[in-house]
Subunit: 223 residues, 2 copies
DNA sequence: GTCTATAAACAGATAGAC
DNA sequence: GTCTATCTGTTTATAGAC
């Protein structure tokens, strides 16, 4: 029982493996792990039910593999953007970098169709402390949040690891995440017919204004 | 098959009914609807498995009854507080009222142990458009959000139903809700050992600061 | 690697005694 | 109203042919 094929891609058999993970993320994210049957997953992936057990050792193995794929996916998407940024010691550059990162995150979370599945999957998995939580936290959430705190600290002149900055970064990131998970509610209240680029722009306008208000309010006056 | 007993309380049989609903909210909120078995619910409520079918017509009936109870519970908790407020035409009074309401919501969501179950239940139910969503939206979310927009509009001098105020109210309420659903993540990042009143105060400090920053930033200058 | 067939466990619902 | 016992369908996992 090879739990993992020797190569990650290129071989013919890995196509099924990838299709199963993508179907898993979509269905787990949309309906929840327990509410999704392996039959549904196999059907969506155009694969056989037994292939789940063959490739991942079972439904739980697929869950973990989905989590790893999602974490890798986001890490590759947002990681380089964060590490390339070098604001030096310029608070204004740090603020601009922070704004661009958050706008990019908003575009991804609110715009990309697949982001809905990924976000739903992560929200569900991160709601329960056990299992997938630890890996995603250590590999994804902690480093990204640290980078955000670093930028926010430089932009405001505050200690990046202070309560204010750490909680402030959560409060800003939380707004973006909230607009993703509560998008159905927001759309109904705003009487939006669709979820197009125009609606995303309106949300981003408020988010950007809130970011600037936070930095302006909490900026430490230079001595 | 009496789907609902004639009286809502006082009778002996309603004790089981209430216990089942409370167990349902807790387990549905913590694990999800499909992940929870009727046997678990009955065990937690110290009731018989068949009592669910007797009192609610089945598992789906219990789900709806739980949603109604939760909506009623929150409506009774936050409704009077919102309607008693009469800021008149004073923007400062409106701002203070808004701040007090949001701090009260934060205390409830972050402090009360049962709020975790309720919040989890609502977040899960509101994530799927069908079923419970419509009722909770119309009876709870819409009126509360309208009241919040009314206060926020008065405090800033903006049109309460403008995009800015409606989305702004969501962005503020979203922060509170995010700190509830992501509390495990936040606690780990903040290296908090417990979730006591001290930690809640730190979160509320940031929330209050963000509320004031929003109002100050978006205040319309009087002509 | 992929598929069919099947096993073993578990789900929710219900009939009927009390 | 409450309980036991049971029915029926579905779930995941697996054995074995190809």
């Amino acid at each position: 029982m090879p739990f993992k094929p020797p190569t990650d891609s290129g071989k013919a058999g890995d196509q099924t493996r990838m299709a199963l993970m993508m179907a898993g993320v979509r269905l787990f994210g949309a309906k929840g792990f327990e509410a999704t049957s392996t039959r549904e997953i196999a059907a969506l992936a155009n694969a056989n039910i037994a292939s789940i057990a063959y490739h991942f050792g079972g439904k739980d193995g697929l869950r973990l593999a989905c989590a790893e794929m999602v974490a890798r996916r986001i890490h590759n998407a947002v990681g380089p953007a964060l590490q390339t940024i070098d604001p030096g010691d310029d608070p204004a550059a740090a603020q601009q970098a922070f704004e661009m990162v958050m706008m990019g995150v908003a575009d991804f979370l609110l715009g990309q169709a697949e982001a809905q599945d990924i976000a739903g999957f992560l929200v569900r998995e991160l709601g329960i402390p056990g299992g997938v939580f630890d890996a995603v936290y250590a590999e994804l959430i902690l480093p990204v949040h640290r980078s955000l705190c670093s930028l926010l600290g430089l932009a405001t002149g505050q200690d990046p690891e202070s309560d204010l900055i750490r909680l402030g970064a959560f409060s800003i990131a939380g707004q973006v995440i909230y607009f993703r998970i509560a998008h159905v509610i927001v759309a109904r209240r705003m009487e939006w017919q669709s979820a197009g680029p125009e609606e995303i722009e309106r949300i981003k306008t408020v988010l950007l204004s809130n970011i600037r208000a936070f930095i302006a309010t909490n900026r430490k006056p230079v001595p």
